[in-house]
């Protein structure tokens, strides 16, 4: 039996508000400076959904060959920093910074972002932005999401994993931890720029598929900016690169 739909969030405006509200609240009155940093090692991470796609023994394709015009160094399937790496920010603030809750979009045959990290009591919205049906399965959840539909749930537990029985490449993780005031995502090239942060001490944990990969702590000075000298390494450097 499918669980009762708790809430439907159909408007993109509402989604935008849900994403921006935590930023406005967390940065509060005492906005001081920016954070500049860089995430590295993501090129050595391979999303499990895409990793399974390259396994020939699972018969997921009949032909797969590389284009000779593309240099081999670019042919390795890697994680997308802006979608697969989630930066959980810990510091001053409370859970109200998440506003209505965290949103996971189902778009393009995947979950965006694939990981969200929230404090207890913050709801999750699963929203279908694809023009076809998803069937999401997770803790206490198994239901269809038609195009444009959303599903709200209150996470129970520390780590929740959601999959899609209709589109197997959809996988999402929800991490519930105390002290999280906001989530951020790097740019596609791995750079990080967070503006208008209040002067305070913060910690950032980088998550990949529900797992913390790296943690950094820094302090934003009053009326100043912070640039982390050391990158946030989510994975050790690979010995060699090649098309896979």
């Amino acid at each position: 039996m499918r669980p009762r739909r708790i809430h439907v969030l159909r408007s993109p405006v509402a989604v935008a508000l849900a994403l921006l509200l935590p930023l406005a609240l967390s940065m509060g009155a005492a906005r001081a400076g920016d954070l500049k940093a860089r995430v590295t090692g993501f090129e050595n991470l391979r999303p499990s959904a895409l990793a399974s796609a390259t396994a020939a023994d699972k018969k997921l394709f009949t032909l797969r060959e590389f284009d000779p015009l593309v240099p081999p160094k670019y042919t390795t399937i890697t994680a997308k920093p802006d979608k697969d790496i989630t930066l959980a920010i810990y510091g001053a603030g409370d859970k109200s910074a998440f506003g209505l809750g965290a949103v996971i979009r189902l778009a393009g045959g995947r979950a965006v972002p694939s990981t969200v990290v929230i404090p207890p009591g913050v709801p999750i919205f699963l929203r279908n932005d694809d023009p076809f049906i998803h069937h999401i399965v997770g803790p206490d959840l198994s239901r269809d999401l038609r195009p444009g539909e959303s599903h709200k749930l209150e996470p129970k537990g520390k780590l929740l994993t959601f999959t899609d029985t209709l589109v197997p490449s959809v996988k999402a993780w929800v991490v519930v931890e105390d002290g999280v005031i906001a989530n951020r995502w790097p740019n596609p090239d791995g750079t990080i720029r967070i503006a208008d942060m209040a002067d305070a001490e913060y910690s950032i944990k980088a998550f990949f598929e529900g797992t913390p990969k790296s943690t950094v702590t820094f302090k934003v000075p009053p009326k100043g900016s912070v640039e982390l000298k050391e990158p946030i390494a989510v994975a050790p450097p690979a010995a060699s690169s090649g098309g896979k």
């Binding site: 959904a49 032909l63 393009g108």
Partner: protein, 589 residues
Amino acid sequence: MMLLSRFWYAILGVALAAAVAFLYISIHQHNRIRESDTRLIIDHDRDIVDWYMRIDARRRLDALAIVSIDDQVRTNIVKANAQEKIPADVREATKKRLNELAQKFAGLIKDEGKGGNPIGLFAVDGRGRVVGYVNFDRSGQVKDDTFELGGFPLVADALHGWLRDDTWVLDRESIYRVVARPVVAAEGAPPAGAVIAMRRLDDSYAKNLVERTEVPVLFYVNAPDGDGVKFAARGVPDKSDVSFEGFTLDAKLLAADKTYMENGSSSLKQIGPMTLAFSRIIGMSWESGAGFAVARKVTSIADPSAVLAGADESDKKAVPMGIVIGIALAGIFIGLGATIVEHGMPLGRLSTEARKFSKGEQDALPLAKLAGPFRKIGQDVNDGVERVIAKGGGASRKAADLEQILGPVPKEPTMSAFSFGLAPEPAPSSKGGPDLFPNLGPAAGGAPEPPKAPAAPPARPAAPPPKPAPAAAVISAPVAASDEEEGEGDDATMVQKIPDELMAAAKSGEVRAIESADELVQWRTTFEEFVSMRQKCGEPTTGLSFEKFQGQLRKNKEQLVKQYNCKRVKFTVYEKDGKAALKATPIKD
């Protein structure tokens, strides 16, 4: 021994039985081979469909090159990559160009747009966002700003420089064959984006497949969380006896097949009159429950009568009529030959030898020239002749013409064939009834005194009148010894010794009396035969009496004895023109 002909009949019987046995064996063998072949054919059908889809993917991927290298598409993708939000004009320009390229693409594939969904084309930027698309049957549910495809492994691969195919299942019922290529904007740089071609597996796709492979095929989706198997497309060759109309498939059938679930190929399933094999479609659809089924119908022969019923003209023409007719003629000739050799020729030889024998050209049948049962017959004939000779010979068998002997026969004898020219005796029967022997007078004159009591059959010599009785008792002996009698059968065992009474009679002049008694016995026998013959011929016998009969015989005998100077006259009963008649044969010895 007639071995050949008899053996030939046995051969024919065995051959017929063997032919029937061969027929049944052939039918069973046909059905068994047919079933086995059908299984092989279905396995091959499964491979054929699989390879068709692989080759089809390759063809589509090759055709997609015209999109991936198109300058306008590439330029628009580069423009999209540079923007956080894809400009509307870029989307429009991309869509317009893709529409043109879709027509070229269809021309290359040659099987698009035949009543089915046209090829869908998509251009995706480096982030997986859809820059433009055409012919997507779900466009009504698409919001351009949020439309992405980069999460699909196929697109992710293309964005990393890979060419590949995939199969998608959307909404538990629609199956799409998808191919993607990277779009390279600069040498040595990562792909700027990707282009994707999508073809829905509908009935037109199945029809194209069937036209090229002659394989009945059915595409279905058995979604893991679905409420049953849904058919996406189906196609059957025109001349196939397979039909998917009204066909249903139980999802449990597939779920229970371990080989299907693990390896993707089911064992053969018998559903109704069809034998089917199910295969999961390679691609992301593997997990989504998409598959295809190939089917064949096993045509078996139920019984021998169905052999001819199911044969067409070409089958009948395939019969080697020359050989069949040759076998039939050979059988006929062999049978006839054996009959001629074993029956006709020996019989003819016996006939020839018997003819020679009858003409007196030889004294006996030459047994050496006779074979088989005919030799035995010849032996018996020879033995019989020798026995007759040993008896002293029989009477001449030459028939006498009573009309010649006795004069003209009345033209219309009254109710009797007993008409051998006796003097008319108008006197009616003393009994008053119809006189069956109108020619016979009541006192057939001059004859020796007839026995008074002929009522008792004279066959038993003891019964006749007092005088001849003792002679009759020994009549066989003197006949056999003196050769006066013939046709009495083999009396040799009775000729032991001439009775003393006979010897005494001979010495005392009673021989004539003995002869009369002997003759009387013969006439009595003749009378009985005559009566029997009349009955046989359907003539009345009422009023016939031995007294009249013997009187007439005696009268005729005297005439013949006088005419031919013979000692005796033998009367023989025979049938003439459907009536009883008598033949008189003078015997001189």
